[in-house]
Amino acid sequence: MKKRELLQKLAGIQTIESVMDILKVDKRMAIYYLYVLRKDGYVKTRRQSNNRRVYNISLDNKLGGKSYYDIINRYSPIKISTPVIHKIYGKEPSLEETLIYAIKTKSLRTILASLALFKKINNWVELYHLSKENHIERQVGALYDLARSIIKVRKMTTKFRSSALSKEKYKFEYVIPELKSRDFTKIERVWKIHLPFNKKDLEEYR
């Protein structure tokens, strides 16, 4: 069987039994086929609590690289599964970059999950620089205040706050178009930013 065909048939999460079942082969041949794919870097193995092996078979494993979603999933209690592929090679994306990426997706669940990053973010200079570049300083500030109300976060520098904080001339903007909060209006007024979450949305953090 050709490697590409093998990969297509087995792509996903497999056990030795499911491999035997899909390929209609005995255990010895199933182990051989897994060996062939592993040699080329397509297989990642982990063990379950009962010591059974589970195989994650994917082209992504061979391509390597890091995705912003890998980083969000590493730090957040809310896990994201997405068909979006954005891989980064040759450098580890910083938490600050990841937060900015998450806000720019305008995806409710991605932004919700990324709030957990505030627990670890400490390079406020980089965060300010990146958010200014993307014109979302106030969104970052408002989401920080929101995160602070539900989880323990690192302290935002006064320089970030005073530079990003809403000025008189600013108009209200959205994090996600058309979505406003009923429960966090105080934070919304401070930053002149409509937040897309209510208290109930944040229950997964409690």
């Binding site: 490697k3 990969l7 297509q8 082209l59 391509l63 954005h86 891989k87 090679y89 040759g90």
Partner: protein
Amino acid sequence: MITIDQQQKLLLNVARRLTKKITVYAIGGTAMMFLGFKDATLDIDLVFENEKDRAIFKEAVKSLGYLEMDAIKIYGTKRNTPEMFKLNDERFDLFVVEVIDFIFSENMRKRAEQIHQFEKNLILKIANPHDLILMKCATDRIKDKDDARKIINSTKIEWDIIIEEAKNQTTLGKERAVFDLTGFLEDLRKIGVNIPSEIMGRLFELIEKQVKEKKKNL
């Protein structure tokens, strides 16, 4: 031939030499490798959004020792041929927006959803498999039919996307697009690729319509 690992190392090396952040679209073998259709490719086909970005990329490639080569050797006297750079067995084909008789359109850019970022400065977007078939039709070298066959046999093709894009190409001024696509698909059928007759019928209708309109305007 260049493998996935070698290609990644090469693109990382190029990215480190770029002086500005640029976005490029991978078509051809490179895109096929990222999409899992192929394990190795002869050339790295890239489409740039503007001449300035290509110039920056060219400088990076040259600094790695790649030498410019004549496109006529590979593409003959076709129009909108790429600028080509070669080192040993590896070759870059660098297009700007137009790929021979096709335009890498706005819709194609939107469909290129997969993003691979190398270091900070090189953003590589992978063309959608449907658009890869159209690009294969545009370049139409010997190996392109085989690549198109691989794509069609390995993924579910939504023929409407291909037909709509061919029509779009016509509106963008590439009058030959539907004609070239029909010829390309006909050739693929001859080598046993399963292309529904209904699709060929629709394409022939489009050609007839185009011919009638042409005659009317004469």
